[in-house]
Subunit: 349 residues, 2 copies
Amino acid sequence: MSPPQAADPVGTHRVLEPAGVLPQQALRLDARREIWDDEVRVRVRRLNLDAASFRQLSEKHRGDGGQVRAEVLDIVRSRGKMQNPVTGSGGMLVGVVEEVGPDSPLGLAVGDRVATLVSLTLTPLVVEDALAGWDGRSEQVPTDGYAILFGRSIAARLPDDLPEELSLAVLDVCGAPALVDRVVRSYTGPDHRGPVVAVVGGAGKSGSLSLAAARQAGAYGTIGVVPHDREASLLRESGLADDVVVADARDPLALRDAVRAAGGPADVTVVCVDVPGCEGGAVLATADRGTVVFFSMATSFSAAALGAEGLAADVTMLVGNGYMPGHADLALRLLREEPGVRSLFERRL
Amino acid sequence: MSPPQAADPVGTHRVLEPAGVLPQQALRLDARREIWDDEVRVRVRRLNLDAASFRQLSEKHRGDGGQVRAEVLDIVRSRGKMQNPVTGSGGMLVGVVEEVGPDSPLGLAVGDRVATLVSLTLTPLVVEDALAGWDGRSEQVPTDGYAILFGRSIAARLPDDLPEELSLAVLDVCGAPALVDRVVRSYTGPDHRGPVVAVVGGAGKSGSLSLAAARQAGAYGTIGVVPHDREASLLRESGLADDVVVADARDPLALRDAVRAAGGPADVTVVCVDVPGCEGGAVLATADRGTVVFFSMATSFSAAALGAEGLAADVTMLVGNGYMPGHADLALRLLREEPGVRSLFERRL
């Protein structure tokens, strides 16, 4: 039986303040244990803090794990969710389904081992072990507690054939290859060939998956852009890109020229590096009527919009959406099928 | 004869600091009077400040025009361009071509009356009259000074059949109808009909042009969303939207429900209101596999990206690009052909 207020699939019934906002924008969520009819409660085993959030906390406390742990605990207690107030970001979690409301549309069953694919920034969460098993020095937070999934949340069952950490790392960025797949398949350029795809940050997690997705979807050529020679070697060894070039993505002319030298401009440019200031270079590296996909959370909307205008660049610019139906399956398939992806991921665990 | 450093068509030769960035990202531009061979110098008659920028300045100084004027002067003097350091936005300008470099590809002649269609945020600018003719209380800033256009800038000759203020106001937002036109024409939904298009801020400048563009491009239906009854009456009188609804765009459920009640969800939602916090509502107002076009400079990239993910919404999100070939001509044509657009614009001058 549900509590009195009707549930909304997006979770607004759990917003305590301010009134009327979505759970992600809320200062405080109602993290009560009792579920509404369309909700699911998950027993949490591990939190995976967003990299930007963990870095901010760690730097603020000068690497003092005890203080980092205390602050995370305080955030979760006071907000009813894990959302870093400075970076605004959260992360994801792994757990086991504990209770499923009779009207839940998620298709989960009690006992399923799942990862949430919606951000912790909007997930009601209660930590019950005071994070006693975490030293505060890694993004991976073993814990015991519970979290709530709404009617319109997304959770993926964790595969049995892959280590949990590996699955988690893939699921965390699975929106990127899914959108690249769609953009490459819907490309209609001259010569009835696929697009030339450049991935900025090609040796990273979302970057390597994007390169693999682009090739499988029929890219005419793939270019991986990396910041230095060490990553260039790694990416070359992986075999995921037809060409690998070294450039500072924050230097627009350098990025443009590097992509051009590797067979560009790109018909599709995918930005996967989490540093600010890559908008202009991405636009300049892209062909007339081409597409830029921004997956970096460091992207500035106004820098992208005004940048393209200022460069008189007729490019389509997409905000990377972390969700697409089937995105988890596609990313896990790429990991299984492409040894180059797997080796790059395993290096980063 | 050009100064020693070679000109780059995107203007990097005028960047003073930091080194290596594009003019838009620069803290300071070289606004020297002397032009490089591919540049054009324009005698400035009027600046048209970006709405978000003007509002921020006006609110900061509590409507004190003298202080607003002093801050604009200070920005232009210290940065060599008019870029609001808080909003990051600029605006555009009107002037008369004063000198054309021998290698300029812009096709302009001395004496042409032009408006720049690239942002002031990247345009070297010198104010020579201390803004003496401006009271600091309007976005329209009459002035005397000069500005520099690069090889890859865009400027439109002002039409003779329209008042200058009207042309300017239209050219300032001409990217919006151009992108809406393209998105509507390329829509491939079920039933071989056009998309249902909702324009949030439909009674505004970019909003009214977007509504007109959507209908001319073959929208199946158009919905104008406005914040209160007075704008609703204006928009209804204009005849530009099939349906007009009142909703606070910052309230996601209210926006979703209002668009739904008017025949939505929308296949294409266009966000034209310059207030923060409209991302979630725009996503929720949009149909599965639909498209959201963000034209508001108040859009937050992370709010859009994480918001769509958090709502498990499979929507394509576009960063509104202010440039597209033919955008000025399309917008001016809409103004001439649609009395409703013209009347809404004239009310705002």
